[in-house]
């Protein structure tokens, strides 16, 4: 759930409960005040009646004009404490049969030595109407307030969070190897400004570190090339010596192979660095099917040497990419498919508009797809650099292609989905 929704929800819950509690308190307060008012009216009425009886020493003539109901009841009781209570009110004139709510007072009064209960009832009609009006206005106010709060939360908070979501979107597409920068927009909200600044600083620091590391890889690899060149040239000179024995030659051959591997690892590392650099300038229109045919042609001798049966099912497919990168990609895929193939094995290349599949038989069992494309992941027997598939993967990433590996009945499949 979104933070704004959370905030909205609790905000509305709190507002709602405060409003309800407030309304209840408000209702009781008004009811209490009105009751007090009625009781005061009743007391006044009662005083009038008592004064009248004291003055005239007789029960007052009951008049129906007043909106009140006065009843005298004879009693033998000598003491009675005056009480106020809710009672139904019967309208004397327009008695429509309905008993309305009323408020009554009951007290003991003595007229001519006789004791009477005096009860006076008045209608609460008007006061109830007042309560209704007040309640309606209050409810309308509550509903209005609630609606306004809801809308404000919804739209204002969406607006408030906009810089945050903008930043989030930029973070999602952030890539350490790309040259894009965060676009900073100035906001009214300090927290977001701070967040943006921190993210900006962090990303530039990460990019700087990454560049430094890449630069280091590049420099280290370059610096190694010259010493390797010296070793190779020394070997080339050394083997001219007639006095060397076969045993010496075999040792030298091992040094040759190790040196050549070292140079290949170095070169592959440099290629990896280069792939991640921006190569969009070198993009051109290429016929992938033609490039595959050319590449297969380059590998003919190696394919024949292992008696591998090559079959190709190529549909025309035009891609926009760097020629050097595609050459590297095909080189690695082909040399893998041949190197890890068996004698009299199979190599099949399929190209359609959507995908390219390289299928080959192999000496190995199923490979681990999770680590297959990582650097320096290779089988124990492999003489490769362990960088070939990492390079392939990097190149696919450059063009947003998806490469996957699968294994079925002794056949390895490398599939690139464009």
């Amino acid at each position: 759930m979104k933070l704004s929704a959370h905030y909205n929800r609790s905000n509305i819950l709190i507002t709602l409960s405060v409003l309800i509690v407030g309304a209840v308190i408000y209702f009781f307060a008004i009811s209490y005040i009105i009751q007090k008012q009625l009781d005061r009216d009743l007391t006044e009425e009662m005083t009038e009646v008592v004064n009248y009886t004291n003055l005239h020493n007789s029960r007052p003539v009951l008049l129906d004009i007043d909106e009140e109901d006065i009843v005298f009841t004879e009693t033998d009781q000598q003491h009675f404490k005056t009480i106020f209570y809710d009672a139904p009110f019967k309208h004397q004139i327009k008695n429509d049969g309905d008993d309305n709510n009323g408020r009554a007072v009951k007290t003991l009064i003595s007229v001519n030595g006789k004791n009477y209960f005096l009860s006076i009832t008045i209608s609460r009609d008007s006061t109830e109407y007042l309560v209704q009006v007040i309640a309606t206005i209050t409810l309308a106010l509550m509903a209005g307030l609630f609606l306004i709060l809801f809308l404000t939360n919804r739209y204002v908070s969406n607006d408030l969070w906009k810089p945050f979501f903008d930043l989030l979107r930029q973070l999602k597409t952030f890539s350490i190897s790309e040259h894009t920068r965060f676009t900073l927009t100035s906001h009214k909200i300090d927290e977001f400004n701070e967040l943006e600044n921190v993210v900006q600083q962090m990303s530039s620091r990460a990019k700087k570190d990454y560049r430094t590391l890449k630069q280091f890889t590049e420099n280290a690899s370059h610096e190694m090339m010259t010493p390797i060149a010296v070793i190779t040239s020394k070997l080339d000179i050394l083997i001219q010596d007639n006095s060397l024995s076969t045993a010496h030659y075999q040792q030298l051959q091992d040094i040759y192979s190790a040196t050549s591997k070292l140079s290949r690892v170095n070169r592959s590392l440099l290629q990896l660095v280069k792939i991640e650099n921006d190569l969009s300038d070198e993009t051109e229109q290429l016929d992938l099917d033609q490039l595959i045919i050319e590449k297969a042609d380059q590998f003919t001798e190696l394919i024949d040497a292992k008696h591998i049966e090559l079959s190709m099912d190529l549909n025309p497919r035009i891609i926009f990419a760097s020629r050097a990168l595609i050459d590297m990609l095909l080189n690695n895929l082909f040399s893998n498919a041949i190197r890890h193939n068996i004698d009299h094995g199979l190599l099949r290349v399929t190209l359609t508009e959507e995908e390219m599949i390289i299928q080959n038989s192999g000496i190995l069992n199923q490979l681990n797809e999770d680590t297959l494309f990582e650097r320096f992941q290779k089988s124990e027997k492999s003489e490769g650099t362990g960088l070939g598939l990492a390079i392939v993967k990097s190149i696919c990433n450059v063009y947003g292609w998806n490469i996957s590996y699968s294994y079925k009945e002794g056949q390895h499949f490398f599939k690139i989905i464009f």
Binding site: A229, S233, Q253, S335
Partner: protein, 225 residues
């Protein structure tokens, strides 16, 4: 051939000189841009081997100097940088080829001979080695005036051997020459034996003397005589 080797790494420079210093070649070395320019101001060379990363500047300056002076020296760039831009830039300013370090001296020699032949191709497009005559334009080979049908790789192999005649060439160097070192196939030299065996057989079938001797454990040697 008179060759100037501009390379700041002393060991490499001396090895190149040692390897190239025969076949009537005269080699001289220069370790800095300044020395190289001075030498070029005083003497003429057939070829300049040029390292791009020199202590006192980029080797491109030498290419520009040669271009301005309208000199005819062939230039072979040897660089540690496998950079397409450098390569294009170098070739645009007038370099004839671009070789990436590390390289085999046999490869360097073959490349040198190739650019030298390309320059001389107008006057002489035939390479004669005893009874073997190679028509460089048509890429055909005659032995005692009989055409020997060679595949593309066998033809390359023969030229490579002749360029490095009298030298022991390692299997690695040959494999890298034929397939490039990116092919990453050096763990298996079987394919190489096949090609060499075929070439040898075809030449012998045309009653050519067997110049090729196998040096067990390391590679081959193409005899000069």
């Amino acid at each position: 051939m008179k060759i100037l080797i501009v390379e700041d790494e002393k060991e490499l420079r001396e090895n190149i000189i040692t390897y190239l210093n025969s076949d009537n070649n005269v080699c001289e070395g220069a370790s800095t841009l300044a020395t190289a320019i001075t030498k070029l101001e005083y003497y003429n060379y057939d070829c300049v081997l040029l390292d791009l990363g020199l202590p006192d500047g980029e080797g491109f300056a030498i290419l520009e100097f040669l271009k301005e002076e309208m000199r005819g020296e062939l230039v072979l760039i040897i660089s540690a940088k496998n950079s397409v831009e450098d390569k294009i830039k170098g070739l645009n300013i007038g370099a004839d080829d671009y070789l990436i370090k590390p390289f085999h001296l046999a490869e360097l020699k073959a490349r040198l001979e190739a650019i030298f032949r390309r320059k001389a191709a107008n006057s002489n497009n035939k390479l004669v080695f005893h009874e073997i005559t190679i028509n460089l334009l048509g890429r055909t080979v005659d032995v005692n005036n009989t055409v020997v049908p060679l595949t593309r790789k066998e033809y390359d192999l023969l030229l490579y051997f002749i360029a490095n005649k009298g030298r022991v060439i390692s299997k690695n160097a040959i494999a890298e020459h034929l397939w490039g070192d990116e092919m990453d196939m050096t763990d298996n030299f079987h394919f190489l034996y096949t090609h060499i065996k075929n070439l040898r057989k075809k030449l012998q079938d045309a009653s050519c003397k067997d110049y090729l001797i196998s040096i067990y454990g390391i590679g081959y040697k193409f005899l000069p005589e």
